[in-house]
């Protein structure tokens, strides 16, 4: 096939035994592999024309996909470690399991889909791309998300989120659907503290609003946008779009651009 020779040049003989081509997909056995070797291996496969890679038996390896800008599809089986997809901009990563902290850290493009929950600090400083989490996100998700013109990051959460969601948000969209907690109100506190841009949508009731943000019911135009995002989200998880759109949506935006403008004496 030819790939063997190229790979050997890149990554050394010892890892070849872990890679198995299955048609146009490469399957990698990751158990016991240090994260540095795993990432080097993934990068080498990407550089050598791989379009899709499956990685099996991941137990906590960190930084998977960090800094990748190749347009490849990566399916992860197991529990990836911290900083999954940090600084990445190209790949589409699908996690068949839960992820840990700092998922999508400073992400600059691409897609991460997690069939489970993630830990804290998801999507910190996201600049573009989409992070879809089927279940819950932890604390401090979407801190300081940013946007500029066509770079519009989106964090969509199927379950619920913890405190400090969207702290310091400057752009982008966060959408919390609460699909697994039908009768529970959205409990997170300090949502959008320091927000000066961007939008947070929450499906259902919420209390605990901080000053500096205003919460209105989403209007028709908002809902058109939300629907587009929800369709995409439901597609990846095989969820029912109507269930996900059922009920009213609250739209949270900053009250003014300078929430701390009056704090300082000049």
């Amino acid at each position: 096939m030819g790939y063997a020779e190229e790979l050997v040049a890149d990554i050394g003989q010892k890892f070849l035994s872990r890679v198995m081509p299955k048609g146009s997909v490469y399957s990698v056995e990751a158990s016991g592999l240090h994260y540095r070797d795993l990432n080097t291996l993934l990068r080498a496969l990407g550089n050598n024309g791989a379009k899709k890679i499956e990685v099996h038996n991941i137990y906590g390896q960190r930084y998977i996909g960090t800094g990748f800008d190749q347009k490849i599809i990566v399916e992860l089986f197991g529990t990836p470690g911290n900083d999954l997809g940090a600084f990445m901009s190209g790949p589409k990563i699908f996690v068949h399991g839960n992820a840990q902290d700092c998922c999508g850290n400073t992400m600059d493009g691409g897609l991460i889909v997690v069939h489970g929950h993630v830990g804290d600090i998801a999507g910190y400083s996201m600049r573009d791309g989409k992070l879809f989490v089927r279940d819950d996100v932890g604390y401090r998700a979407g801190i300081h998300m940013k946007e500029y013109r066509d770079k519009q990051p989106a964090l969509v959460v199927g379950g619920t989120a913890g405190d400090f969601l969207g702290e310091y948000m400057a752009g982008g969209v966060i959408l919390v659907l609460g699909l697994n907690s039908e009768n529970e109100k959205f409990r997170a506190r300090y949502v959008g503290t320091g927000m000066h841009g961007g939008i947070i949508f929450v499906r259902g009731e919420m209390s605990n609003l901080v000053s500096g943000v205003k919460a209105l019911e989403a209007n028709e135009e908002d809902m058109k946008f939300v629907e587009g995002l929800v369709r995409e989200f439901c597609f990846y998880f095989g969820l029912d779009v109507d269930d996900a759109l059922d009920g009213k949506f609250i739209k949270i935006t900053p009250v003014n651009l300078r929430p701390y403008g009056n704090l300082y004496a000049y």
Binding site: Y35, R36, N39, R62, Y63, T66, G67, D69, N82, D83, A86, F87, M88, S89, D101, C102, N105, T106, D108, I121, Y124, S125, R127, R140, I143, H144, K146, E147, Y148, K151, E167, Y168, A170, G171, G194, H196, G197, L257, R258, P259, Y260, G261, N262, L263, Y264, A265, Y266
Partner: protein
């Protein structure tokens, strides 16, 4: 509310000399001067004057002087003018008082209490004008030992040395963010760094793509707001610096007032125009030492382990233990910023009260890393109000590998330390993003001034070293024996590791 605040400065104009050329009116950004057509005289609104000296310098006939307002409250060592004015200002605004630049109180400068050695008789001094004097410095992690392979007459180096930065002079330009200063200033620093074989630091506002050509001389900063941080940014720089804190405001995040967030800043930082760019206080993925290690490794992964990663902290009480943790977390360089460090904007109480003088921090960190046997694993760069080449020599003698200069670089370009950077109206065109004002700095001219400064200081460093009988900076680094203390207590001497004069 009537303001109870008297003007700080009085503008004195010699009306005989004044030719009504209006230069002062055009140059002043605070609308201090105005022309009265009826009197055919130029008058001044003293309340607006910040003592930036722009009009004084540009007046063609030297007609203007700025005088400290002799009208003060009754003398009181405890209730000083500043203390009283601050309270009145806060009573009027309910706000946190901002300030620019570094701590201006008299208590924290130890440099003036340290003197340097020179050779007499027992060791010849060296003349740097005629003999080689080496001040080149490499920053990065050095291995514990080197392994070689011997093959007949061939020797090959087996040990892979970690990536290093090469400085032709031990002076780098400190972090000044694009937003705090203008793009022209960034360009001036970049050009000067490239010309002198050293580095400039982008600060936390990202690196404008116009300056990518200077990437080899750029240390790109990753701060808590992650402004302008993406793969290409990381790839372009020669090193990456994780900013935990800075000396002017330890413990709190960066602050760029909305006045300075223009279209281009909005694009760079990806935040709405006119909004305050507040960086969070901590990096939100660093809450514990192992988290720092996680970010260092993430950045190294993202750049394929090809460049050094630096960690910048403010000098605080347990800097020695923290530095030890940082080194063990994998940093190649530690940057320490002392209490005198400058800033574009910080709450004045924090600027003046939080943090420790850099002199103690260098000594404590250097000694601690040596005691733990890990001094070689990271280089130490220090900053915080370095004012002259003598201080650079003293810093290196105390244990630093190199220094960062911030305020000094801006002063070289034209700054007069009037401390009003946060207004965005810097008349010198330095601490502003206003396109009209920014044009007052011509990168060709400003970079030449910076190059001049570095050349002058490098020559002075060489002269001092020559006087000590040293011709290579490695022999000065951490060599406390070349320092003596004057007027310091025994405890201070002990912490600095420096003997008293006469001993």
């Amino acid at each position: 509310m009537k303001s109870y605040l008297p003007p700080e400065y009085i503008v004195y104009r010699d009306h005989e000399r004044c030719t009504r050329c209006h230069v002062c009116i055009e140059q002043c950004t605070y609308e201090t001067h105005y022309y009265d057509a009826k009197d055919d005289k130029i008058y001044s609104r003293d309340n607006n004057c910040t003592n930036c000296q722009r009009c004084v310098v540009f007046c063609p006939t030297n007609a203007i002087s700025i005088l400290k307002n002799p009208n003060t409250f009754r003398e009181n060592a405890n209730w000083t003018q500043e203390a009283i004015l601050a309270i009145k200002k806060q009573a009027e605004t309910g706000g946190v008082i901002l300030a620019g630049m570094g701590c201006d109180k008299p208590f924290f400068t130890i440099w003036d209490r340290l003197v340097l050695n020179a050779s007499q008789v027992t060791n010849p001094s060296i003349d740097p004008l005629r003999e080689p004097m080496e001040i080149r410095t490499y920053l990065g992690s050095k291995p514990d030992y080197l392994e070689f392979e011997y093959n007949n007459n061939d020797v090959a180096l087996m040990t892979k040395v970690a990536p290093q930065l090469c400085l032709e002079t031990p002076i780098m330009f400190s972090a000044l963010s694009y937003g705090a200063v203008s793009l022209n200033v960034h360009e001036s620093l970049a050009r000067a760094a490239a010309e002198c074989g050293t580095y400039f630091n982008t600060g936390e506002g990202g690196l404008n793509s116009k300056l990518y050509g200077y990437g080899d001389h750029a240390i790109v900063q990753v701060a808590s707001g992650r402004f302008g941080v993406y793969k290409q940014y990381l790839d372009v720089g020669a090193a990456i610096e994780i900013k935990i804190g800075q000396g002017a405001k330890p413990g709190i995040g960066g602050h760029l007032p909305g006045e300075k967030v223009t279209e281009d800043i909005s694009r760079m930082r990806m935040i709405p125009i006119g909004t305050d760019a507040l960086s969070p206080a901590p990096q939100h993925d660093i809450y514990s030492i192992e988290d720092l290690r996680q970010l260092i490794c993430a950045l190294k992964e993202a750049t394929d382990y090809s460049k050094p990663v630096s960690v910048k902290i403010a000098a605080v009480h347990n800097s020695a233990a923290i530095a030890s943790g940082i080194v063990r977390a994998g940093a190649d360089i530690i940057a320490l910023d002392g209490v005198r460090g400058g800033t574009g904007a910080a709450p004045r109480v924090i600027r003046d009260n939080v943090g420790i003088p850099i002199e103690f921090a260098i000594a404590a960190v250097d000694q601690r890393l040596r005691d733990e046997g890990i001094r070689n694993k990271a280089s130490i760069v220090v900053a915080g109000g370095i004012r002259s080449s003598a201080e650079i020599v003293k810093a290196i003698a105390l244990g630093a590998d190199a220094v960062y200069i911030g305020t000094a670089a801006l002063v070289a370009i034209g700054c007069t330390v009037c401390q009003k950077c946060y207004t965005g109206k810097c008349p010198w065109g330095i601490a502003t993003t206003d396109p009209k004002l920014s044009r007052r700095i011509d990168p060709k001219v400003a970079s030449k001034r910076l190059v001049n400064l570095l050349l002058a200081w490098s020559s002075e460093i060489k002269e001092i070293m020559g006087g000590m009988g040293i011709n290579a900076i490695e022999s000065l680094r951490g060599n406390r024996l070349h320092l003596r203390a004057v007027g310091l207590t025994e405890a201070e001497c002990r912490i600095l590791g420096v003997k008293m004069v006469g001993e």
